[in-house]
Symmetry: C2
Subunit: 403 residues, 2 copies
């Protein structure tokens, strides 16, 4: 049983294993996933494009993996392109529309989407609410006659906001109807980067309502730099990497067979565990949040208030007056690994565009930790982490106050 | 000892392990490489962009791998960009120059270079000799005032031609001098895809004389979809994939840490074995070639005659009047795995542009096998393969003759 939020200190403090609480940045490859990958390094290593038996087996296995993933997404396997990671998949999605077409993304999209929008001739970053939510009305207003793509991540990796994608897809559908009635032939698509949500939410493409979906293996206990883009039938993708014509000409280069096999296994495991893990992690996260909020009345939690609109494993919490960078270092020294904003933005030491977009105060931005739980996270770890975080914040406040 | 070419049939025919002779298409991951990779899947799995201890270790290990590889190439580590494979590295090299600049590639480049050249506004495919060699004179004539990039693979993966890169680099240097004297500011670079040569030739960038070099891990017993592009200081690359800014902004996306660690180990092993393996495989290849040439007077070997101009492990041989596709199927059934042209082209069942460029007759094209030996290839395997190939060609000739 979890201790009550007000008594976390009852947990004995021992020199224990480190506590990893940055699952949004990276997940360990599951043992079963590694097992699924391992034959494809040194044994079934043939090039799937060759024609002899082991090569045909490699090809068949890659296609089987595609079919299994397609099944899990309620999609056609022919509509799945394997890519070298989610960033590449997002770039591929954004490249699907004409270079001069207008695109829209939320102001809290991942850098891989933001960078592509910013590099285009015409792009709009859509403001979000204080909880990070995109409103259907704001989207409807932002759509122009030349808008061809709207990119809204299913879940935000920094503050955990889960977008009302189906509602947003209706806005796109309405605009399609309008164009059809007006005799306009320009298409309009909804893309969603589902990477951060992949381990905890359904990725059924009909449920999502999107026309293009990015998934990352690395965020669901699969290998790094393995991802996919699903695109509805009829959407013509433009390859970023040309050559031998693999992936129906959309991603040339010999397939990462081991990575793809691992991806499929990781996807299946995530699906099997999803329901239980969502519930378990939500409880742990809510306990941790309560615990820290009780300890620090001025702590600020960023992201949606309602559980249904939040990633179950994520807590974004700020301790105004402190510097997250110093907190992270101190926690690191005590074996507690948490993030400050997204890992990518963190390495650049810039203010997070996500926090800026939700209108966080400078103090909130500076003192914010992103804590993300995952499959290996135990109750004991969370209780121990709570103790250490409380002690660390207290110590840091004393230090700052004493200056 | 090898049997003499005229007595290959003395080797006993048993139901043995299959014989893999398509190392140009794929290589098995070396056990030591896999060992170097394995901690990075489930243990050291942290995102190198995060800031806590395990993440810093992942970052340090990636940078250590880069330094080790740079050392092996006689290069600066800051000039190495890790990519998701050689195809991506080639695309990145070709994207380095202005979209409207003229580029030149040999007519026998890999599809990943050819496709990029063909997609550009101004590109020239340079004819080659019957041995597949690019001549310095032809290159000099093809260079235009607006030429910014010349891409010539160190070794051709289909017929094994090793280009006189240093000589070609002098042509580029001369053009640079001319432009400098004329006050022209347009740069001109030499890119070489060294993927196929990586296991058997030096990749020292000074020795090569190129300004940009592509290397593939997958062709040197490392993992698939891991590669690099080295670019001389001062060359400004343009990223194909944007986002979190990894690889100095040139290849965004969380690094494939395991893959990079494996790449470095594979590179080191290849360097250690290079000299011995080149000699050993050259002898085996030459024995096989002699054996098949003795058995079939009309067999045609394509590629350079001189060993010094040929990849040591490659034999491209045609049996006019036969269909390579049928031969490969029959050899496959007997457990001998060989290629027809490059695996990429083979899967598309089109005439190989390489064979077209060297002026091979239709009969030579249709009946050609690409046999590539590698690290696991033994003398016994080559002798046994020779027997099986001779039997198969004879059987196929009888079948065709009997029609």
């Amino acid at each position: 049983m979890l201790g009550t939020p007000s008594h976390p200190m009852q947990v004995p403090m021992t020199v224990d294993e480190p506590i990893y609480l940055d699952y949004a940045a990276a997940t360990p490859v599951d043992e079963q996933v590694l097992e699924a990958m391992s034959p494809y390094f040194s044994q079934c290593f043939a090039n799937p494009s060759a024609s002899y038996a082991p090569a045909r087996k490699a090809r068949a296995d890659v296609e089987d993996a595609r079919t299994r993933i397609a099944h899990l997404m309620g999609a056609k396997s022919a509509n799945i392109v394997f890519t070298a990671g989610a960033t590449e998949a997002n770039n591929l999605a954004l490249a699907a529309v004409a270079p001069d077409a207008h695109v829209i993304a939320s102001a809290i999209e991942h850098e891989s989407v933001r960078a592509c929008v910013m590099a285009r001739e015409a792009g709009t970053l859509l403001p979000v609410s204080a909880e990070g939510l995109v409103s259907a009305e704001a989207l409807a207003r932002a759509i122009r006659p030349d808008t061809e793509l709207v990119s809204i991540a299913l879940a935000n990796g920094e503050i955990g906001t889960i977008q009302p994608l189906r509602e947003l897809s209706h806005v796109i559908a309405d605009e399609r109807k309008r164009r059809l009635a007006a005799g306009e032939t320009r298409p309009i698509y909804l893309h969603t980067d589902a990477s951060q949500a992949a381990a905890l939410r359904t990725l059924n493409v009909s449920s999502l309502g999107a026309d293009l979906v990015t998934v990352s293996a690395a965020k669901m206990h699969g290998p790094k730099q393995v991802g996919l883009l699903w695109a509805r039938s009829g959407i013509e993708l433009r390859p970023l990497v040309c050559g031998g014509g693999q992936e129906s000409g959309l991603r040339s280069g010999t397939e990462n067979v081991a990575g793809i096999m691992g991806f499929a296994r990781a996807f299946e495991i995530a699906r099997d565990l999803r329901e239980d893990e969502s519930k378990r992690l939500r409880e742990l996260r809510n306990w941790l949040q309560g615990c820290l909020a009780d300890a620090f009345a001025d702590a600020v939690v960023t992201g949606p208030v309602r559980d249904a609109q939040r990633l179950d494993n994520l807590l974004h919490i700020s301790f105004p007056g402190l510097l997250a960078r110093r907190l992270v270092i101190s926690l690191d020294q005590q074996g507690v690994y948490v993030g400050t904003g997204s890992a990518c933005a963190a390495s650049k030491m810039t203010v997070s565009p996500v926090l800026e977009a939700v209108g966080a105060t400078p103090a909130t931005c500076e003192g914010s930790l992103r804590i993300t739980l995952g499959r290996e996270t135990t109750r004991e770890q969370v209780e121990r982490a709570a103790c250490i975080i409380i002690e660390t914040v207290n110590a840091e406040r004393q230090r700052v106050g004493g200056c």
